[in-house]
Symmetry: C3
Subunit: 164 residues, 3 copies
C-alpha cells in the first residue's frame, strides 16, 4: 500500500467508528418519540426479533410482547393523559459487532387537574446492541428505577466499565 | 477515477452526512442556553429570516417576533424567577438540502418559596431545517404540549417516518 | 501534494474536528452514570489532576476533593434514597487544544413516601476542557443554580459566544 492508501484506510476505520456511535445514539433517540406516539411496530423494530426489554415492572421478550406493551391499556392511558419518555444523553461504547450504551430516562406525565407535569419514574438504562444486516439493533435493554434499590447504581456502573 | 479517488469521494460523502447531523444537533442544543440567557438576537438567528416558531401558545413569524418573545415580560419574568428550557436528545434526518428533527423539550421553573423546581411544560418538538449559505437554519419549529391533545403524539410520529 | 493527497489531508482535519466533539460529548455523558453509581475515582478522572469543579454550593479543587465529594455522607445519602444527575445535550466548541461546552443539568431525587420524584436542582453548566496526552479532560466546570441569580444566565451565555 502507498502512504496515501494507508491514510485512506485509516480514515475509513475512524469514520466507521463515528458512524456506529451516531447510529446507536440515533436509535436510542427514537425510542421516546415512537413510544409516546404509540408507534408500536416501530418501537419493537428497534430490538432484534428475539431481543429483550427487561424493566423492573416486567420483562418483555421479542417483538410481540413489546408491541403488546405499547398497545396495553396502561400505556394508552399514559398517552391519553399526556406523557413523555425522555431519554438522556447516551454514553456509547462500541466493541466490534457489539455495543453497550448507558443513560438515564424519565417518564413525565401530565396532571389533568393542575395542568403541570410530574416526574413519575427516573430510571437507569443499560442497552446492549448488535450490528445486524439491517444496522444496529437492541439485543437487551435493562431498566431499573432509581429509587434506592442496589441494582440501579450497579447497572449504571456496569456500562461505564467497557472500553472501546 | 482510480480506486483510491473513489474511496476518497465516498469518504467525503459519508463525512458530510455526519457533519450535517452534528451541525443540526449543535444548533438545537444552543436553543436552551440562548433563550434562558435572554440572548434574543442569537435565538432568532437560529431561524431563517422568514422562519416560523409555531407553539401551542402562539405562532411567531420571522426574526422580529422571535426577538420580541424573548424580550417579552412573560419570558423575562421566567428568567428572573429561574428557568431552564431543557432540550431532549434530537432524532435528526437529513434529506439533501432539508432536514427534520424530533425531540422533547421541558420548561422547568424555580419555586421562590420551596427552593425546588417544577416541570411546567413538556412539549413535542418538530424541527424543519434548510441548508443555507450560512449553514443549517430552522424554517419551521412546531411545539405542542404533551397534555393529551391528539396533535402532540402525531407531531412526534411525523418526524420519525422520514428516512434519510 | 497531489490533488488526492490534499483531499485526504482535508478529510483528516474534518474528521478530527468531529472526533473531538464526540469525545467531549462522551466525557460529559459519563458524569451522571458515574456520580450516581458512586464511582468516585472515575468521576475525578474526568478532570485534570489540578482541575476545578466550581459549584454554587462549594468549590472542589483537584482529584482528592472530587473523590471526597462522591464519598461524602450527603452524596451517599442521595444514592441510597435514589437519585439521578441528568446532564442535558451539550453545546461544544473546540478551539485547537481547548474547548468549552454548555448545558443544563438536573438533580432529581426519589421521594421515599410518595414513590415519585422531585427536581431538586436545575443548573447552568459551563465546562472548560483541555486536550491532554490521555485525551480531553476538564480543567474547570462551573455550575450555578438557575434560581434567578444573575450569574447563571450569564454563565449560559458565556459558552455560546465562542466560535470554533
Amino acid at each position: 500500500m502507498t502512504d496515501t492508501e494507508q491514510r485512506v484506510a485509516r480514515l475509513e476505520q475512524r469514520l466507521q467508528a463515528l458512524e456506529d456511535e451516531a447510529e446507536i445514539a440515533r436509535l436510542i433517540s427514537s425510542y421516546g418519540p415512537l413510544v409516546d406516539s404509540g408507534s408500536a411496530d416501530a418501537v419493537a423494530a428497534l430490538w432484534e426479533p428475539d431481543g429483550v426489554y427487561d424493566v423492573d415492572t416486567g420483562r418483555l421478550s421479542g417483538h410481540d410482547e413489546i408491541v403488546a406493551m405499547v398497545h396495553s391499556k396502561a400505556h394508552q392511558r399514559l398517552i391519553t393523559a399526556g406523557c413523555a419518555h425522555v431519554i438522556g444523553l447516551p454514553h456509547v461504547t462500541v466493541q466490534g459487532e457489539q455495543a453497550v450504551a448507558t443513560c438515564h430516562s424519565q417518564l413525565i406525565v401530565n396532571h389533568e387537574n393542575t395542568g403541570g407535569f410530574t416526574v413519575l419514574r427516573v430510571t437507569a438504562n443499560h442497552w446492549e446492541l448488535r450490528r445486524s444486516a439491517k444496522g444496529w439493533r437492541v439485543t437487551r435493554r435493562t431498566n431499573r428505577l432509581l429509587d434506592g434499590r442496589h441494582d440501579s447504581p450497579e447497572l449504571l456502573a456496569s456500562g461505564m466499565r467497557r472500553t472501546p
